[in-house]
């Protein structure tokens, strides 16, 4: 079943003088349970594509279907609500709320979804244990390493039970050991719980672990490699 279905998407940025075609006629289907990397040189359009899939930006042309809904037609609070319930985000620079503990950062998104307290509490602990932070649940981000913060971000992204997780260069700010560790956790979640991961990366280790690698250049998909 396709979780994501991108149909002939074009994204053009019109500055006052320069017209930039960031995405040029991309079509792509992502099935449930995929562990997919989008790779390509800087400026190739990876982040733009992720932003479009995540509903953070709108395409100039084309359609983006998530779970059968064309998110290009959603606006304002409906779109925000759609993101809250369907898409998990992991950012390059973790972007945790610094004044909240790991537990509160994870719980926060479920509170926005109005998940009852007891369920929220249980799921928060389960998720933090799943990412190997069961012993750091009450630590604030400033007391955690980069790798640990990114694992909290993964737990947060999973908390809302999204259809898929979008991760924009999740290992870019991590040392090799932390990056390895994070990837193992993501891969395990993908294998054990069939969670769909779509991430952009430059990192060869990430590419190596991905089961599908999309190569993008000048806003076009130039290679789509599926691995056993």
């Amino acid at each position: 079943m396709n979780v994501i279905d991108i149909r002939n998407v074009v994204k053009i940025y019109n500055d006052s003088e320069v017209r930039v075609i960031a995405i040029n006629g991309v079509s792509l289907k992502v099935e449930e349970g995929e562990f997919m990397a989008i790779v390509g040189p800087s400026g190739s359009g990876k982040t733009t594509l992720l932003n479009l899939i995540g509903g953070l930006d709108k395409p100039t042309e084309g359609e983006i279907m998530i779970g059968g809904i064309n998110i290009c037609n959603l606006k304002g609070s409906k779109l925000i609500d759609f993101r809250l319930h369907n898409i998990g985000f992991v950012f390059q620079s973790y972007n945790l709320i610094p004044v909240l503990t790991a537990r509160e950062n994870v719980e926060f998104i479920m509170q926005m979804q109005k998940v009852p307290f007891k369920i929220r509490e249980k799921r928060t602990i389960e998720l933090l244990e799943a990412v190997g932070l069961g012993d750091r649940i009450d630590s604030r981000p400033s007391k955690l390493s980069g790798g640990q913060q990114q694992r909290v971000a993964v737990a947060r992204a999973l908390a809302s039970k999204p259809k898929f997780i979008l991760a924009d260069e999740p290992t870019a700010n991590l040392d090799s050991k932390s990056a390895e560790n994070l990837l193992d956790i993501m891969l395990k979640l993908n294998q054990d719980e069939n969670i769909t991961f779509v991430f952009s990366t430059h990192d060869a280790r990430v590419m190596k672990k991905a089961r599908r690698v999309i190569t993008i250049e000048d806003g076009k998909i130039i290679n789509d490699e599926k691995r056993g």
Binding site: D81, P98, F108, I109, M112, R156, A157
Partner: protein, 468 residues
């Protein structure tokens, strides 16, 4: 959760938030305390005016009010008295005979309003008996009829004298005693005269406050002095009645104390040659100040042949003070809060601009605009309210304490009393002012959050996430 994040967000920059909280605290404290001070001052003026001078309601013969001519007494006094006694909401009332007279002491003369009263009934309506500063209130007088005179009138009649006696020099410093002894034996009839004499022996540079205390220390009233009052009786003839000065009252209102004297009604009536049941004025106290207008309107309806006025009609200036002060209270607090709101807007704008990336992330993961707005608004309200709460608490405690002990402005007593104000202020604040200030603070917090919150709402998540 949002309020919890908002509260935690406030403490991201502890120093900055504390500065704002401190500023709000000082602003609210100043505003509330100033309101308390002014309210206490005005309340006291109203209280004094009602309890020493005009009471809650007054009844007169309508013709008496035109020229205050003596023959216009209250008609059917007995009937009026019976009706008042049967009217609910009235605490007490006292009838008075009221005439103008020229009083003459051995050294000066002065025009007075002489009120003939029944001392025991007058006690239930006015508190003059509590304001006796020399001598005593009416009680078992023998010989000449007694008069209780206002302190300023006594001064005008040169019945306030100054004399340095050995007895009063008692515990003074040897050097000062020596200088002052040179003035002993002489009686000064005016304050000015005594002050000049003191300055001559003590030097012009003598401390002003000490000089004030020194003058008061050697002052004394010529109690038991005879006062001859020239009056016009009911036949239009001039009559002379002699009274003995029995007591001096001081209500802290020079205007009232300068022209008022009390004598027994019976003695005044005899001199004026009017009947036992003739009175010019009935002063009433309602059970509370707020009931005065209602009581007056009941009496107006039932006593159409009399002129009935509530204190608001007798002294509209007092009533205006009251209303004007309430408006002024909110203007004061409003100005303080307006000034503070700029500080809060500045702080909140900085807080938003520092967190552009984070707010972008919150919007990206699914926090809608309403929640973002509420979060920023909570931060602003909490910041404002924390400072305001502390400010209100401190001002409340201080107002409560000073409301009991009073703020002593006796250094300026002469000036204040000349315009009818007491020199000891008892700050007071009503609960509705507290509620009003609390609401204003919350409104300030909300209004101050609008601009910063709008800034946050205008953020585009993609651009916000890109910022470093």
């Amino acid at each position: 959760m949002i309020w919890s994040i908002a509260w935690k967000n406030i403490w991201r920059n502890r120093v900055r938030s504390l500065v704002v909280i401190f500023a709000v605290m000082i602003g609210v404290f100043s505003g509330v305390f100033l309101v308390g001070f002014m309210t206490g001052w005005i309340n006291q003026r109203i209280h004094d005016a009602l309890h020493y001078e005009i009471s809650h309601v007054q009844i007169h013969n309508p013709d008496y009010l035109l020229n205050e001519e003596m023959q216009f007494t209250i008609t059917n006094y007995k009937k009026v008295e019976d009706f008042i006694s049967a009217t609910p909401g009235i605490q007490s009332f006292a009838p008075r005979v009221k005439v103008f007279g020229m009083a003459q002491s051995d050294w000066a003369s002065s025009g007075l309003i002489i009120k003939g009263i029944d001392p025991e009934r007058e006690r239930t309506v006015t508190d003059i008996h509590k304001k006796i500063i020399a001598g005593e209130y009416f009680e078992d007088e023998k010989g000449l009829p007694a008069m209780i005179l206002g302190s300023k009138a006594a001064e005008d009649l040169k019945l306030l004298n100054y004399e340095i006696t050995e007895e009063k020099l008692g515990s003074f410093d040897v050097n000062l005693k020596k200088k002052l002894q040179s003035l002993s034996g002489k009686r000064y009839r005016t304050r000015k005269e005594f002050e000049i004499a003191l300055k001559n022996v003590l030097g012009l540079e003598y401390n002003k406050k000490d000089m004030y205390n020194l003058i008061n220390h050697f002052a004394f009233y010529r109690l038991r002095a005879k006062l001859t009052v020239t009056l016009q009786n009911s036949k239009g003839e001039l009559v002379f009645e002699t009274f003995r000065l029995k007591g001096i009252f001081d209500t802290s209102n020079d205007m009232f104390d300068g022209i008022t004297a009390f004598v027994r009604a019976g003695e005044l009536k005899k001199a004026l040659n009017i009947k036992e049941t003739d009175y010019h004025e009935i002063a009433l106290l309602a059970k509370s100040r707020n009931d005065a207008v209602t009581v007056a309107s009941i009496l107006k309806e039932k006593l159409p042949e009399q002129n009935v006025m509530s204190w608001k009609e007798i002294s509209p200036d007092l009533s205006y003070y009251n209303d004007f002060m309430k408006i002024l209270d909110f203007i004061y607090v409003g100005i303080f809060l307006l000034a503070l709101s700029f500080g809060i807007i500045n702080t909140m704008l900085m807080a938003v601009l520092e967190r552009v990336k984070e707010i972008g992330m919150l919007m990206a993961i699914g926090m809608n605009k309403v929640k973002v707005f509420i979060m920023i608004m909570f931060e602003s309200v909490m910041l404002t309210f924390t400072g305001a709460f502390v400010g209100m608490l401190i001002s409340g405690i201080l107002i409560y304490h000073l409301g009991k002990t009073g703020i002593n402005l006796s250094m300026w007593a002469q000036g204040l009393e000349a315009i009818g104000y007491a020199s000891i202020i008892y700050p007071a604040i009503s609960f509705d002012i507290y509620i009003g200030v609390t609401l204003l603070v919350i409104i300030t917090g909300i209004l101050s959050s609008i601009w910063p919150a709008r800034k946050a709402l205008q953020l585009n998540p993609v651009e916000a996430l890109r910022t470093e």
